[in-house]
Amino acid sequence: MYKFQLQLIVFIFFIGTPLMAKTIEVCPSCEVKSIKEGVALATDFDTLLIKKGTYREFNILVDKPLTLIGENYPVVDGEDRGEIIRIVSDNVTIDGLHIINVGTSYTTDYAAIRVVKSDNFLIQNVVLEKLFFGIYLERSNNGRVYHNKIIGDALDEYNSGNGIQLWYSHHVQVDRNIVQGVRDGIYLEFSDNISIHNNISTNNLRYGLHFMFSNDDVYTDNTFENNGAGVAVMFSKRIKMMGNVFKKNWGTAAFGMLLKEINDAEIIGNTFEENTIGINIEGSNRIEYKNNDFISNGWAVKVLGACYTNSFINNNFLYNSFDISYNSKLNDNVFEKNYWSNYTGYDLDKDGIGDVPYRPVKLFSYVVNRTPETIILLRSMFMDIIDFSEKVSPVFTPDNLLDEMPLMKRLK
């Protein structure tokens, strides 16, 4: 019996050694002084424990499945000389690094962390500052980008990069990141089945979140504030957008959300507050808008044309300067059971639904589309009279564009 146990222990010991990954400590006063050295020494599935300190390194190539853990946020300073970490192996984890000074280039997209053709990666608790591109995923699937903080200082669009960029990467989770001061907070190109949750994307030059040719993605509970435009969704299909907050995107070309060539999307339970344009829609079909709150926007929804079979059901339109703006006389979209704070009708049968249909498009919005300076006449009595006469007998606005069942009380 005793002998057997010993045999077992010896067996486990010998078999176990290669399985039990070793931990290599990296610190300025250790044997291993740089991350590059550490990576070179390590074998597959080892852990590199990087102690607090400053490591002036760039072009660190992680070519085996390693776990890089930073203790107390060690600083990796790229000294503006190029890319900092490139991952070319599956199963790599990067945790708790503070990466600064990524090189800026007009020919190469230098990134703080670039993942190339590698699966099952995890990048978490990383802080990036003074960057060009932040986290760049290239043909890499099934990974997770979690709880990172990306703080850029971008001033111009042409020489700045994106916070988190996904290119031909599928099934990636982007959760709880904070991105600010870059060109696009999160950028997706040709990336399908991505889920983006609980991120905060603020003060970016262009878009808080940007989709290009990416299908079947979901983004929920994110906050987009004070970006050039909150979210741009372009040329993508079947995107689900739920519970996001779009706030204070002010300016001449600023939108809470920009939809361009989007089909079959679901937009549910979002809040659009104080944007110049809440949602700008162009060439988008079969989209379902439900339970959204549009509060104090300049234009809650601006429809630019070629938008068919969209449905707006159970939304709250509160104190917007214009609820809906159209530039054509055709309408194929459905508005039903929304609450409009500008509704002036009555409810005699007390079923909670107004007895008179509501026309959300004002004549004035046409006038403003034609001559933008007339915006200064907003809320003037003359405009109210004109709007009223248009309401009574529509000439310029699509006469079938109305909410037949406007709600009397705001939806909770």
């Binding site: 300016g251 300076e373 809320r379 009595m381």
Partner: protein
């Protein structure tokens, strides 16, 4: 002057019309809040009311008071009093009582509905300030009209016409000129045109608070400068003060020279 102001003020305070005016605003405030139960929506509705009704009532009231108290004015003129103080005293009495009715009439319901606890307090105070300015301006304009016209009917006619012009027709002409000249850069023109109409001016002032997000949608450097910074607020208020001072000055000037 103060004595005459006080007399006019108390005279008006005792008169039925002040109460009617006060009760009207009180009822309006309560009804609005009762129907909406929402302060920010009520503020928007109120804005329309203030911009249209306050000038109308101030104009009519000003003209009416001037003609009604004509005999008393002539009596005062026989006394060793400065002419400017007689007329300014009367004017300030009227404008003061109107402003008081407005502020109290609207203030009471809103305060009772929890204005101090809500974040619309700034919108609301801006509303009251513009209302006060409009009262001052239109009462002064009304006094000017009444002073220049002996004929009551004519005076009333001009006063109503003035209101109609500034409240509705001006904007119509403004809109037409904007559409007519749409090929030209119009942003400085449109801002300037607003300055020449106190109603538009106060409307802009309120828009700055309520619809700033829509106003910033227009591409124009001057617009952006005006609405995006404090410039708009400062310029609008300065212009409103100017609009108040000029008619009052003309009133004093005319009153000195008029032959009664």
């Amino acid at each position: 002057m103060l004595k005459i102001l006080k007399y006019s003020f108390y005279d008006l305070m005792r008169s039925r019309w002040s109460y009617v005016y006060f009760l009207f605003y009180l009822a309006l405030g309560f009804v609005l809040l009762f129907l909406n139960n929402d302060l920010s929506k009520a503020v928007i509705t109120l804005m329309n009311v203030i911009i249209i009704l306050v000038p109308l009532i101030s104009t009519i009231f000003g003209v009416m008071y001037f003609y009604n108290s004509k005999e008393f004015t002539e009596l005062l003129l026989a006394q060793p009093l400065k002419r400017s103080s007689i007329f300014l005293g009367q004017y300030l009495g009227v404008a003061g009582s109107l402003m008081l009715s407005l502020v109290l009439g609207l203030g009471i319901p809103f305060v009772l509905y929890g204005l101090f606890k809500s974040d619309t307090i700034w919108d609301f105070s801006l509303l009251l300030i513009t209302g006060a300015f409009l009262t001052l301006i239109f009462a002064a304009l009304a006094f000017n009209i009444a002073l220049s016209n002996e004929n009551k009917i004519k005076g009333f006619g001009y006063a109503v016409l003035l209101w109609l012009f500034l409240a509705v027709i001006y904007d119509g002409l403004f809109l037409m000129s904007l559409i007519l000249f749409e090929e030209y850069p119009l942003d400085s023109f449109s801002l300037a045109a607003t300055m020449f109409n106190p109603i538009d001016l106060s409307r802009t002032l309120i828009l700055l608070k309520l619809d700033i997000s829509a106003l910033l949608g227009y591409t124009g450097a001057i617009f952006k400068q005006f609405f995006g910074t404090y410039t708009g607020l400062i310029v609008s208020i300065t212009m409103l003060i100017l609009w108040t001072v000029l008619p009052i000055w003309r009133l004093a000037y005319k009153a000195k020279r008029k032959d009664f």
